[in-house]
């Protein structure tokens, strides 16, 4: 897997100007075409339960959604024309407080209109996930529907 530092222009353009990603402190750790790892640093304003200091499930939702979106963007090279259609998340266990959360996502299928991705949120070990997700994304906008098929065309 190539590191983000080998792919700075790609990594930069995929997250640039997303205010909510900035508000979460979300950044790309590693990236290659269709495969991305992102990190959200632990922060007090992300706590969902003040008794346990566990991070809110919504942070994981946003992290997985964004990481899957970046994975789709890195494969389709579309910018700002990717909309989440549906997102399904299974929560496996509560996150450990005071530790960062990472997410790995992979875009595993792209058709003319839709891209499919799956992801996993974890802290120290990807095999011991906090949550997993499956997502579908709509590609293109009203004015420019779908993906420009590179030669062969999509499904």
């Amino acid at each position: 897997m190539s590191n983000v530092f080998d792919n700075q222009p790609l990594a930069g353009s995929l997250l640039a100007g997303i205010p909510h990603a900035a508000a979460l402190g979300l950044h790309i750790v590693r990236i290659e075409t269709g495969k991305v790892t992102c990190r959200v640093p632990f922060a007090a304003h992300l706590i969902g339960n003040p008794d346990t200091r566990v991070i809110h499930g919504g942070v994981i939702t946003a992290l997985l959604d964004n990481t899957c979106g970046i994975a789709v963007g890195s494969r389709t090279m579309l910018r700002g024309q990717i909309a989440t259609l549906d997102l399904r998340i299974d929560y496996m266990k509560q996150a450990t407080p005071d530790e960062d959360i990472l997410a790995f996502a992979e875009c595993f299928k792209v058709t003319r209109n839709i891209a499919f991705a799956r992801g996993v949120a974890y802290q120290t070990d990807q095999a011991d996930p906090v949550a997993t997700c499956a997502a579908a994304f709509m590609l293109g906008t009203k004015s420019s529907p779908g993906r420009q098929p590179p030669g062969t065309g999509g499904a």
């Binding site: 100007g17 997303i18 205010p19 909510h20 990603a21 900035a22 508000a23 007090a44 304003h45 992300l46 706590i47 969902g48 339960n49 003040p50 008794d51 991070i55 809110h56 499930g57 919504g58 942070v59 939702t61 946003a62 992290l63 997985l64 959604d65 964004n66 979106g69 700002g80 909309a83 989440t84 259609l85 549906d86 997102l87 399904r88 998340i89 299974d90 929560y91 509560q94």
Partner: protein, 153 residues
Amino acid sequence: MDILRRAIAEGRKPDLRELVEAIPYCRFLGVETDLKGNELTTILRFSDRLIGNPILPALHGGVVGAFLEITAVIQLMLETDSEELPKPVDIGIDYLRSGRPVDTFARATVTKHGRRVCNVRAEAWQEDHARPIAALHGHFLVKPIEPGAVRGE
């Protein structure tokens, strides 16, 4: 949570405004509650940091999902006597329209109230309730007060 334990001990429903204020992430998003009788509407106050697509502009999908999840949890707090916040087991979010940069509202219904797990549906809208921007369905683990536990003291 302390707020929930106190409410149960006093034999009343928790103060939702106090509850939301006590959760840092709810404050960060800008979630408010509006309770009329037993009907709860949650409000997500728009702010620039909720944007996920600055070109359209549109709300971040994760923000809309988190808002629906919070709505489901608060609805469960209203309908269950629990000392702890319900924990999400799984959620599915359907994105129906892009979220415009304005305030968003949501309501949730507890479809099935099990002893350990509840099934909840929630819907978010903006200007027009008949045109929802997203819908959630999910399962949440609830921890009811143990039978025989001290109540109403």
